[in-house]
Subunit: 548 residues, 2 copies
């Protein structure tokens, strides 16, 4: 990346800044991203599975209204014997049925938020699509319920069992199958970790069209199964557009071989789309073919402070107009979220002064001189128009990562105090932040919010992908508390339904939102979805108790 001195000068010229925003960004040593969270609390997106979870309540205890479906068989020693024979290798099975495997098996039973915990006694790790097919057929024939599991970094409890469902973990299917550097088509096993794929692509001067906080642990199969949105959607669009093909296995063992590498193929219904966002309820994705763009040679990141949500909206409109084809992210963080990140990490803030709102703007393009000029002009303009009060621009890749840390660190830091109630919502952009303010007010009025231990709620914060009208409303708590849940729900969902928003923008339904789909979908749509579920999974063995 070219030197940012010109941009700094430009910022210096802006007269309206209440604080000097033109100071050179501080040296790296003061700025390193240090997590001061305890080992236990720092479990999270990065690792994806929980540590010892003895203190986490079983999902079946937290939600006593969910009952184990008696149509499913209990796992027997005979089942285990057969499945062991089928998968061959010792390492492909964690067997808590015929022997005690409690410690080994616990990470597969719980989620990283420490909110859900099942009690499976069997984890299978198939090594090939054929093995997945044989396993599923056997489970289907024997009415054994299963949970497909990728990196287990989800936020809605979709990838862990509720009761004793068999976990089918995809981590052994982790090979990159092929890459075509003319077309950009990448074909991978479902269990390839997102960061591994992106690292591979970096060497080929390409980029994975999806990026998210959990990239170090999440599987591409899981990304596709949950239709992950993430940080680059504004630029590269949704997986419904970028996924070229899918290989998946239906419960009856049928292998869907739709792993094409073509950008265009109009020959029949696009069935793969049902598996994108199907959350493992129709079958298991075993392979993914995806269109990867060329890696932008110039990436710039600016971090801005703003005085009101109205100004955030103005800044977004200006960015869309002026940065246009190079705008690759426009992220919103409120001051409450940044205060918590600062408390947990102890890192020095990017801006010297504090502001009610912060935005992170990223540009990605092919010509750093042009991109710098566009960004410089944009920053000058929004400062002059008094839309933005203060800002810094990253100098070099390390500082790009550091500034991103203030955004990407939010979910992890919020978990520091014990737990987080998470809502992932699509809302018309002009009302997006109003929900955070109203939620904060009702939580405050309920007396649940406070600095001391008798108050369960630490803070109500809002952040997210402004560019996609996608808000993450998070309520950080010292402990999960039914009173908090009752204050939040159905309040949040009703608020969303009134505005025709979505109760799950990018995280999916899983267990957490199964009962609330009616706030975003009509009865007709739900009926049609159930038809599809019944078509592909008539025995209902795939990821039961969740989704629809």
């Amino acid at each position: 990346m070219a030197s940012r001195s010109r941009v700094s000068l430009a910022l210096r010229r802006a007269r309206i800044s209440s604080t000097p925003c033109s100071r050179p960004i501080r040296p790296l040593s003061q700025f390193r991203w240090v997590s001061t969270a305890s080992t236990e609390d720092s479990e999270g997106v990065a690792k994806g599975t929980t540590g010892p979870s003895k203190t986490i309540k079983l999902t079946s205890e937290t939600y006593p209204e969910i009952k184990r479906d008696s149509k499913f068989a209990e796992i027997t020693e005979d089942h285990v014997k057969y499945l062991k024979q089928l998968l061959g290798k010792e390492s492909a099975i964690i067997d808590g049925v015929t022997k005690d495997a409690t410690d080994d098996i616990e990470p597969f039973n719980g989620d990283w938020m420490r909110k859900y915990r099942g009690h499976t006694k069997l984890v299978l790790k198939p090594g090939s699509t054929e093995e997945v097919s044989k396993v599923l057929k056997y489970c289907n024939d024997n009415m054994l319920a299963v949970v497909p599991q990728g990196g287990n970094s989800g936020l809605v409890g979709g990838s862990v069992p509720v009761f004793d469902e068999i976990v089918i973990n995809m981590s052994r299917m982790n090979q990159i199958r092929s890459f075509d550097d003319v077309s950009g088509a990448l074909v991978v096993d479902a269990g390839v970790i997102l960061e591994v794929a992106d690292g591979f692509l970096q060497e080929k001067n390409h980029i994975f069209p999806l990026d998210l906080g959990a990239k170090g642990s999440c599987h591409i199969g899981g990304n596709v199964a949950t239709n992950a949105g993430g940080l680059r959607l504004l630029r590269y669009g949704s997986l419904h557009g970028s996924v070229l093909g899918i290989e998946a296995v239906l419960p009856d063992g049928t292998i869907i071989d739709d792993l094409g590498k073509l950008r265009k193929n109009n020959t029949g219904y696009d069935l793969k789309q049902l598996f994108i966002g199907g959350e493992g309820t129709l079958g298991i994705i075993t392979g993914v073919s995806i269109m990867c763009p060329q890696r932008p040679s110039a990436v710039n990141v600016a971090f801005l402070g703003l005085e009101s949500y109205e100004k955030v909206q103005l800044a977004f409109q200006e960015a869309k107009g002026q940065l246009s084809e190079i705008l690759s992210a426009f992220e919103l963080m409120d001051c409450q979220s940044q205060d918590l990140v600062q408390k947990v990490t102890g890192n020095k803030r990017p801006l010297e002064s504090e502001h009610p709102f912060y935005c992170l703007i990223e540009t990605s393009g092919s010509n750093s001189e042009h991109d710098n000029e566009k960004l410089e002009k944009f920053l000058e303009d929004v400062m002059e128009k008094e839309i933005v009060s203060d800002g810094v621009v990253a100098q070099g890749q390390t500082q790009v990562k550091e500034l991103w840390g203030w955004r990407e660190g939010v979910p992890e830091c919020l978990g520091h105090w014990g737990g987080v109630y998470k809502y992932d919502l699509s809302i018309p952009i002009n009302e997006l932040y109003a929900l955070v303010e109203e939620t904060r007010e009702i939580i405050h009025k309920s007396g649940l919010l406070g600095d001391t231990d008798e108050h369960p709620v630490v803070a109500v914060v809002g952040y997210g992908h402004m560019g996609d009208s996608n808000l993450h409303l998070n309520v950080a708590v010292r402990t999960y508390d039914k009173r908090v849940e009752k204050t939040l729900e159905p309040f949040v969902y009703e608020w969303i339904a009134k505005r025709s928003g979505s109760i799950s923008a990018e995280h999916g339904l899983g267990l957490a939102k199964k009962n609330y789909i009616g706030y975003s979908r009509s009865d007709t749509m739900i009926k049609l979805m159930k038809q599809i579920k019944n078509l592909y999974d008539p025995n209902g063995i795939m990821n039961p108790y969740k989704y629809i």
Copy 2:
């Protein structure tokens, strides 16, 4: 757009050009796009329906192996009476059952290529989603087969009846329902013409994310039903990514209200995707919600001459790298296609010298100075590297349109001699043009190609969307001739299957390719597709004899 003088200078500096490519582009008066085709032959993309079609053979005569399915009822006067009452208005029905409406009804029976002709006696033009629902329910209850019809500009006979299916023409549902200029979400009736929507968006400084030759007649509902690809896919991606929501009616009258305006909504299976490319075989799309990007303020077009297909590939790779985020089209035309356009239109060619291949490159961006500089540098570079032999750059919007005419005019001009065998194929890019050469050779060897009337074939040409690996292989004929068809098929399909290509990249299956889907899809996939068809349309009344 800024003056192009700098680019011309840049081209002048390039030493390798065998012909001067730096001459200023010729004055507008010499360059106007004039169609010299006869009235009859100029019917086509622009109008979408055929003129008097007395000379066109009935589809049932051309393909005697297709039999009318006796399960469908014959239309009676009682049916007509009921449907007239239902739709109310006189103008909503063309009735060839109770009275003679032959002349009025013929345009709805035939396609613009003059290849297919049905013999419906009833055309319905519902004015609302509720009317579509009532009509479909009645037809379904009475086993009356129907054909949904938009602008009737398709290339595979999908939108015209084969026998006496009732045509449900969507032209009366032509209202723009809403537009949100912050999010870019446009909601339209299915019968809105693409060019009308784009014109509306132009006033709002936005652009429709799809563009194609038939824009003046095709309906957005038809575009979505056929998953049209077109000229902007390289930049704005496929409809599977850009369509936000769909309103559709199932044969049993169920209205699918999935007309969301949210960029992200992960609440359940994405059922709308089945209707994108469903070709009217599951239901009728009545409304579309689509994400429209901001209109680029700078659009540049260059027209280049190249000496080999290898050089075309090199130029494409350079364009992807150097023009990157502003590259919005990379179109290929072989010299045979350009010769025919020149013959039909009589227009003066953009380049003074002739070349085996031509490319049209379009850039779209937000800063004309930056875009000009990138394009200039790219052109200088490909000239210096001897990848490109000659080139011109459009000066102003009129010349942009004129250069595009040499690409967009190909399909229309090819029909000048009588008919065209059209293949719309996805092929790995390195082998893309080899198919045209091999096809030309076998047609030549068969003795079917020649300049005189006893030879049915006028020319074998290749052109298409190089940026999407999408070739249009077209065989222009004086008359449709079974010998030509037998020489071409299954040769072309087998050639594609060997390379895992697609036999229909963007035009769909319709009637033309129904029997050939097996070359691009496995038996398993076809079985699963038939399951879906049976789920939504158990009586099979929706667009029968086509698709799968």
